[in-house]
Amino acid sequence: MLLLAVSIVVSLSIGSAGISVADVWDILLRQLPWLADEQSAHTPGEIAIITQVRLSRVLLAVLVGACLALAGAGFQGVLRNPLADPYTLGVASGSSVGAAFIILFGLQAALGIWTIPLVAFTTGTVTLFGVFWLSRSKGAMQIETLILSGVILQSFLGAFVSFMVSLSQGVVNQIMFWLMGSLAMRSWDNLYMLLPFLALGLPLLLFYAQALNLFVLGERQAAHLGVHVERTKLVVLIASTLLTAAAVSVSGVIGFVGLVVPHLIRLLAGPDYRLIIPLSAIGGGTFVLWADTLARTALSPKEIPLGVVTALIGAPFFAYLLHRRKLKEGSPS
C-alpha cells in the first residue's frame, strides 16, 4: 500500500514535458480547493498536462493493473493452474476483438459508455469457453494443454484484430495499441468506466477467497467441505473475465500482469487467497504504474507500448514458471 502511494508520487513527478518536480506538486496542491487562493505561477498548458494528462494516466495505470492482477489471481485460483492469466488464456485477446470491433466501426453509442466493456466481456467469455472446449479431453483439463489452447486462440484473435484495424484504414499505431496495450491518450472518462468493475470484482473475489483456498486441495475435497464448486467456478471465472474485459477496453492487451503479480504476492505472503486477492490488486496497480512510467519516459518523448514493457518482464518469468513445473514433475513423489 505504502509502495503504491510512493510509486504514484514518483510517477506523477516525472514525464516528458520537462516540468520540474516542485512545479508538479505546486500545481497539484493548488487543485485542492482550500489551497487555491493564490495566483498560480504556472501556464494553463502546464496545469493541463499535470491534471488532465498525467494524473489521470497514473491513476488509470493503477486501476488497469489492479484489474488484470485480480483477474490473474482469480483464474489461477479457480483453475488451479499457476500459468493462467488473462493473456495466456486468450481472454484478453478475446475481449480486444469485441472492443476493437465496436471502436473501429463506430458503434460506441449503442449502450452508452458501457457498450465497449460489455461487448468485450461477451467476446472474452466466448473465448474462455472456446479455450476450455479446445483443451478438454475426456472431461479432464491438463494445465499445459489449457495454456497451449489459450496461446493459440490469443494469436488467432490478435491476427483478427490486426485485420480489422487494417480494413478500417487505421494506422499502425492503433494496431500496436490493441496488441501491445497503451495508456496514452486516455481520459478521466476511462477512469470512471473502469472504477465500477473494480468495485464489483474485488469484493466478489474476496467473498470466494476462502473457497479458493479449499480448491487448492482439489475440487472434490472442496465439495466435501461444503463449497458449492460449480457456483464458485462460475462466479470467479465471470468476475475475472469481467475485470479483464474492462481493463482491455481502456488499455488494449497488456500481457503477463496477471501472471507475474499474483506469483510475487504468493512468494511474499503465502498461499492464502484472502491475502493474495487484495494484495494482488495493490501489487498489480504498482506494477503497471511502473511499467507505464517506464514506457513513457525511457525513450522520451517517444512512447514504448506498455505491453512491450510487461512482456519483457513477464515472458521470461512465464518461461521460468514453466521450467520449474517441469522440474517438479520430473522428480519422484
Partner: protein
C-alpha cells in the same frame, strides 16, 4: 442412517452400479469390499452426496441427500479421499483449520472459537510438533494423518473413508484404523470405509458390504460374509478362511495355483 435405493451409475459410458441397494446404521463401522473396478469408490461418492446417481436415490436420515444444503451436509459428513491431500503450500494447522469451513459464515468467522477443536485434532493425530510445517515438506504418511486431523476438526457424525490405508505400510495401516476405531467408539460415529485388504476389513469392521456385478452381493458381519464360496465367486480365486488366533475374526489365506516344490 444412510440408505442407497436402487442406484444406477455410469463412469465414462460404462455402467458400474446397476440397481444397488444397501443401508448403513448409525454408530457402526462398515467396510465396502469388492474387486477392482466394481464401483466401491463410485458408491462412496454417491453416499457423500457430491455426485448424483443416474437413477435411484441416496437418503440421509430419511431425507434425500440432494436436498441438504452443501454446508449443512458438510457439518454432518466428512470424507477422506483416496490418494490423500496434495503437497500444497499451506501449513498443517491451516489445512486442519480448513475442516472448519462448513461452520464459518460468509466473513470466514465462526460463532464459537474453533482453536480448541483444531488443537485437539492435531494432538490426536500426533501432529502438534508439525503444526507449523508446510504440507509440501511432509511425507505421504504424515499428509494422511493431516487429512484425518482435518476430518476430526470437521466434527462430523458420519465419516466416509476411501481406501485410507493405500500407500501406508502395515504399521501405519493398523495405527490409522485403530485411531478411526477409537474415535468412532468415543463419539458413536457412523464410519463407511472402502477397503482393499479383506483381512483388515474383517478385523476392524462391524459389518461388510460386498459389491459384485453392480449390486451388493452380500452384507453382514465379517463371519457371515467372508466364506470361501463368496470369495471364490467374487474374486475368482480360491482361498481358505481361518479364525484369527487372537480375535477370532475370519482371516483369508490365499491359495496359489501352483504349490512351491516340496523337498
Amino acid at each position: 442412517m444412510i440408505e442407497a435405493k436402487e442406484v444406477f451409475q455410469e463412469i465414462q459410458g460404462r455402467t458400474v452400479l446397476e440397481g444397488l441397494s444397501c443401508s448403513f446404521r448409525k454408530g457402526r463401522l462398515y467396510g465396502i469390499i469388492g474387486p477392482n473396478g466394481v464401483g466401491k469408490s463410485t458408491l462412496l461418492h454417491l453416499l457423500s452426496g457430491v455426485t448424483r446417481p443416474k437413477r435411484g436415490e441416496v437418503f440421509f436420515d430419511g431425507q434425500s441427500i440432494a436436498s441438504y444444503p452443501r454446508k449443512r451436509l458438510a457439518r454432518m459428513m466428512a470424507v477422506l479421499q483416496q490418494g490423500g491431500l496434495p503437497p500444497v503450500g499451506f501449513t498443517v494447522r491451516e489445512v486442519v483449520g480448513m475442516g472448519r469451513f462448513p461452520y464459518q459464515n460468509w466473513l470466514g468467522s465462526e460463532e464459537r472459537d474453533s482453536e480448541e477443536t483444531i488443537e485437539t485434532a492435531l494432538k490426536a493425530m500426533g501432529l502438534s510438533g508439525l503444526a507449523g510445517r508446510r504440507m509440501d515438506q511432509l511425507s505421504g504418511g504424515e499428509r494422511q494423518r493431516v487429512a484425518l486431523a482435518k476430518l476430526m476438526a470437521q466434527e462430523p457424525s458420519v465419516i466416509l473413508l476411501d481406501e485410507p490405508t493405500t500407500y501406508l505400510d502395515i504399521g501405519y495401516q493398523v495405527q490409522l484404523l485403530d485411531t478411526v476405531r477409537s474415535w468412532q467408539r468415543e463419539r458413536e460415529l457412523t464410519v463407511i470405509a472402502v477397503l482393499h485388504d479383506l483381512n483388515l476389513a474383517s478385523l476392524y469392521c462391524d459389518e461388510l458390504v460386498v459389491l459384485h456385478r453392480g449390486k451388493a452381493a452380500a452384507a453382514g458381519t465379517p463371519s457371515e460374509v467372508l466364506s470361501p464360496a463368496l470369495i471364490g465367486e467374487v474374486y475368482e480365486t480360491s482361498a481358505s478362511v481361518v479364525a484369527h488366533p487372537m480375535t477370532g475374526d475370519p482371516q483369508i489365506m490365499l491359495q496359489p495355483q501352483l504349490m512351491k516344490k516340496l523337498d
